[in-house]
Symmetry: C2
Subunit: 343 residues, 2 copies
């Protein structure tokens, strides 16, 4: 159950029964486009405001995850969800119609990790037979809130990332509850992360702010479970981008761990940065959430990967703290997901 200093091991691993990904036009044109369930050509999702668009995207992803799993809303006992916006308005307005008790979460771009951890912990403890984990971000709501209104057309340094317009939703169910549980990915353990603040201050270089947190959680995970990098087929960070990836690889090398081949970053994977002008890569809660549902889970289902460490990363940045000269602390939450095919 408790493993080491900070981790939890699930004796009867909760299953990821079904999932769905919904994303915008740019994400649809990227390398993962062909695997994303729904690509909306209109980034307003038919709504009047960007915030309503993000809410609509959450609702669509949640409903589709339920539909794909043949699960009714009433069969989901608790919802764990969040987004990047102040007071989680995308989530509040996006999930109200689900009528499911809500645990609102904020972990910056690590939210899908936080949601999956709590959703699995809740199911494994027997508090619920099914829970739903949801996280979203939207390029236009994030730029408006964190940086500049889009109409300014401001320039971006190469270390900057591009906030993903996307939402991922996953239904977690108790062990043995899947129709074909042998093909169903399962959450076998979690390593909740702590805040790591090495004093990074450049809001246009969030990869540097998050890499130390990612390294910390990976080390904690290795220590708690008594494993090393070879235990995993992939270690998948959320949105370090090119700059953050280099830093992470360097930091892990200091431990004698070479992650070059098994490390994958959702932010790097989701766009073709040269063709799509996204600089260091994608970011936002939606980045890891969409990549999980569209790219990672299918590879676990097919057995191509047996075991991954899914590690969404968050930069705990706000315009208020930034303008007051504060640093950007980072956090990273680790979720061990195994292929059903290992049984």
């Amino acid at each position: 159950m408790q493993r080491g200093k900070a981790s939890i091991e699930f004796e009867e691993p909760p299953l990821i029964l079904s999932d769905a990904s919904v994303a915008g036009k740019k994400e649809g044109e990227g390398p993962l486009g062909k695997w994303i369930d729904v690509i909306e050509r209109d980034d307003r999702f038919g709504m009047e405001t960007w915030e309503q668009a993000e809410s609509a995207m959450q609702k669509q992803a949640a409903d589709l995850a339920l539909e794909k799993g043949g699960i009714r809303r009433k069969e989901v006992r608790y919802l764990f969800a969040g987004d990047l916006l102040g007071q989680l308005i995308a989530t509040s307005f996006g999930t109200v119609d689900l009528e499911i008790p809500l645990f609102g979460l904020y972990g910056a771009c690590s939210t899908m990790g936080e949601a999956l951890m709590l959703a699995a912990m809740t199911v494994h403890a027997g508090y619920a037979d099914r829970t739903l984990a949801v996280a979203s971000s939207h390029f236009a709501t994030a730029e408006k809130q964190f940086r500049f209104p889009l109409a300014y057309g401001n320039q971006r340094p190469y270390s900057a990332t591009w906030t993903v317009t996307g939402c991922g939703a996953a239904v977690i169910g108790k062990a043995g509850s899947g129709k074909n549980a042998k093909n169903t990915p399962r959450i076998t353990g979690v390593t909740p992360g702590r805040i790591v603040d090495l004093g990074a201050q450049d809001s246009m270089n969030m990869g540097a702010a998050m890499a130390p947190a990612a390294a910390h959680t990976i080390r904690q995970n290795f220590e708690d479970f008594g494993v090393d990098a070879a235990y995993y087929d992939k270690i998948i960070t959320g949105d370090l981008g090119e700059v953050g990836r280099k830093l992470l690889l360097d930091m892990m090398k200091q431990d004698g761990t070479d992650l070059t081949d098994i490390h994958m970053d959702c932010g790097i994977r989701i766009y073709d940065s040269e063709k799509q002008d996204t600089h260091a890569g994608g970011s936002g809660c939606g980045c890891s959430a969409v990549t999980l549902c569209a790219y990672v889970l299918p590879r676990l289902r097919s057995g191509e990967w047996k075991r991954v460490l899914f590690l969404p990363t968050g930069a705990l940045l706000s315009t208020v703290s930034f303008n007051e000269g504060k640093s950007i602390p980072g956090i990273a939450h680790g979720v061990v997901i195994e292929s059903g095919m290992t049984d």
Copy 2:
């Protein structure tokens, strides 16, 4: 374990091992002042900005809760914490030095309820021996973010509430872990709430936005546990204020339930509204968190109250959604806390 449609009952109820409250000058001058652990005369807590002040208050409350319980930081496995600010900056900067893995939460003013629920669920499941639940708010950070800078001196209608400058922190431990467990309050059940949106649109009347959510969670709690109002010595809402209280009592009367005598609202209790010019009452995550630690838990410890339903209420409001003409959805999370003296 699972009770009814939305609740959880704990067979071996987790204990509230220790707690602490820290608040500002105005709260210290109010009716609860004599029971609040620390009253800071300087609402900046010696810091340069209001946000840093709120962070300092969180750290002080967390450290004091640990100190009062004779518990070291390393003995706390997970932290569940939140505040009202965009991207939870009071929490990020306030808790970084604790070096405890963090689950960041946002439930508007219901956050102390959400934190207690998850902290208790985690302990009861055996995932941790001790967890820490923390929630804060600060009058100046909240006014700056949600309404106007203080220097404007804008007028406030009588339905408006006053954001509490305060933080409550509680250490939750597994059953039997207290030094004198007989006197230790315990969490025997929880009823996580769902978002209720009846279309309230007045940001200066948040009581009206939250009352329907409070009524919904109370009804759900009664139904799930098969009890009625007489089961509790007190039903304690977070920050409905005078206006929201009237609405709640009216709504419950429609069910034939008279809550007039057993209902208490932290927002009404924390200030003397006539003398302190706080209009409808106090609000903010800190309102219910401080009232819990300074006023509710001592009465459970003494045995004056045997069983309460602690029900922090949240108005899911943001300036962005408000300015876009959206309504203010509400949420309320129910925590059943019993006196150790019932054993």
